[in-house]
């Protein structure tokens, strides 16, 4: 079947008479609606996963890339001197936006979850921490390490790269998988609609023969089927998307911290992305039925 704007317009406008020439098929209709609904529901989750892992990858990549820590591990009497020396080095290192030593109170707060509130910090050999925030262009970690080794023997630079990179690439991989799943789901919709359309055409061979006899063109016959399946796929996916969105909405949220399981969901304009699904599945159904009908009508005489 040739497909162009005129066909599309006629299809959207609808033709009460043309619709009626193909008998209503209760069961396949319901199956098509149900299957596209289920697919859309799954697609909502695939999209939620993709968008969430995307956000996570960005957050980790961005924030962690710009922070680093220096630990000053030195005997009690050396600690303050070495801390000052390290800050000195940092102040002359290009690419560092700010650096400051954490106060005793801050260190206490960091350790509190593990050792309780009344930890006597001054009697323990707890290293002093220096928090570094890099400028946008970042700094040369290897160079900094060499300088620190020469000037501040007790300083250890931890730029988070070691544990950050696998997390970021895992999140990126997850995002890719999510998109792949969404694409596969659309493919499944296309396959399902093609099968259903073929079944409908075969079941209606007599209808097709009668329409042929009275001078219906292939395009006219195909359109009656195409319109039907397109509308069914649209209705089914719309329902599936709504249910999927409600399910995502009620997923427990982890507050502001981007953690993995609690972060699956949509944010801001992300909520609009799944709303495209019914239109995309309608388009997929339209193309699949047009293809199936075109092929079937060429062989059916």
């Amino acid at each position: 079947m040739r497909f162009d704007l005129q066909t599309l317009r006629a299809m959207l406008a609808g033709d009460r008479h043309a619709d009626r020439v193909v008998p209503p098929t209760g069961f396949t209709a319901q199956l098509t609606v149900f299957a596209s609904g289920a697919m859309a529901f799954l697609a909502v989750f695939a999209l939620a996963l993709s968008l969430a892992s995307g956000r996570l990858a960005e957050a980790w990549g961005d924030e962690l890339a710009r922070t680093a820590t220096i630990r000053i591990v030195a005997p009690e009497d050396q600690r303050a001197i070495q801390t000052t020396a390290a800050l000195e080095v940092l102040s002359t290192t290009p690419g560092i936006a700010s650096a400051r030593a954490l106060t005793d109170a801050e260190q206490q707060a960091l350790l509190a979850p593990w050792f309780g509130q009344d930890l006597p910090l001054d009697t323990l050999p707890v290293p002093r921490l220096i928090e570094i925030i890099a400028a946008d262009q970042g700094f040369d970690a290897t160079g900094l390490r060499l300088r620190l080794a020469a000037e501040v023997p007790g300083a250890i630079l931890d730029d988070h790269v070691r544990w950050r990179e696998p997390l970021v690439s895992a999140a990126n991989r997850l995002r890719l998988l999510g998109w792949t799943a969404a694409l596969l789901i659309l493919g499944a919709v296309a396959a399902m609609v093609t099968l259903a359309a073929n079944a409908a055409l075969a079941a209606n061979a007599q209808v097709v023969a009668v329409l042929r006899l009275v001078g219906a063109t292939d395009r006219y016959i195909a359109q009656a089927f195409v319109r039907r399946f397109t509308l069914r796929a649209f209705a089914g996916s719309a329902a599936g998307v709504v249910i999927g969105l409600i399910a995502v909405w009620f997923m427990p949220s982890g507050g502001d911290t981007p953690s993995f399981l609690t972060g699956i969901g949509f944010q801001g304009t992300g909520w609009l992305v799944p709303l495209l699904l019914p239109f995309i599945s309608a388009l997929v159904a339209l193309l699949a039925t047009a293809y199936a009908a075109g092929r079937a009508l060429r062989t059916l005489t």
Partner: protein, 225 residues
């Protein structure tokens, strides 16, 4: 209008029709007869592009069927009204919508036909069966509905395959009268039938030529009919 030139048609192994040359001139009235299985239905199908000849030429409205696209065939179906031997309808639609179906598929709607449709239903005597579903019709009613459907587009040619196959004598006379009337309105008519009494009855009303298929060929039957 419809012209067959040295047409042969075979299926599988056997040749069913060979060296057939027939010309249906505008406004002519033809019968096609011959024993059961002789190829009457096949010849009719060649005449509206449902089958392609194995060899020779079939010309429909001056165009060789072999050069026609699928859409062209669809357009020709709108100019040729066909009554099938085994009449088929859309069983989920009432008779009146089935009769109006050629209008529907060509983008004109039954509403537009309005009075014409009512007149046509009355002409074939189906006014009070208009809302019935096709499976509820008797054999004769089906054939009359098929005839109404075949002529609603006011086609140039009407091809009828055993239009009186399922009906009693009286009804066959009524159907014949409808076909003769169509011919008087200028339509080209071809009726395939093995009912010789029908042919005799027609000859009293209209100038009809009788083609007989025997031994795979078509001959013009003499005045003995």
């Amino acid at each position: 209008m419809i012209e067959l030139e040295n047409v042969a048609y075979s299926y599988g192994g056997g040749e069913l029709l060979s060296d057939i040359s027939v010309k249906l001139a505008p406004g002519s009235f033809h019968f096609l007869t011959g024993p059961s299985g002789a190829g009457k239905t096949t010849l009719l199908k060649l005449c509206y592009g449902a089958l392609l000849p194995t060899s020779g030429h079939v010309r429909l409205f001056e165009a060789d069927v072999r050069t026609l696209e699928r859409d062209d065939i669809a357009m020709i179906r709108r100019k040729v009204g066909v009554v099938h031997q085994d009449v088929q309808f859309l069983d989920h639609l009432p008779v009146r919508d089935n009769v109006a179906l050629p209008l529907t598929v060509s983008g004109r709607h039954a509403e537009a036909a309005g009075d014409d449709l009512g007149e046509l239903m009355a002409w074939v005597g189906l006014t009070n069966r208009a809302e019935a579903l096709p499976p509820e019709l008797s054999g004769g009613e089906r054939q009359r509905a098929a005839l109404a459907r075949a002529v609603i587009m006011s086609p140039d040619v009407v091809l009828a395959d055993e239009p009186t196959g399922n009906v009693d004598w009286e009804m066959s006379q009524r159907l014949l009268k409808l076909l003769v009337e169509l011919n008087r309105m200028g339509k080209t008519v071809l009726i395939a039938t093995h009912d010789l009494s029908l042919i005799r009855a027609a000859k009293a009303q209209v100038q009809a030529r009788v083609l007989r298929i025997s031994n795979r060929r078509v001959q013009l039957a003499g005045a003995d009919l």
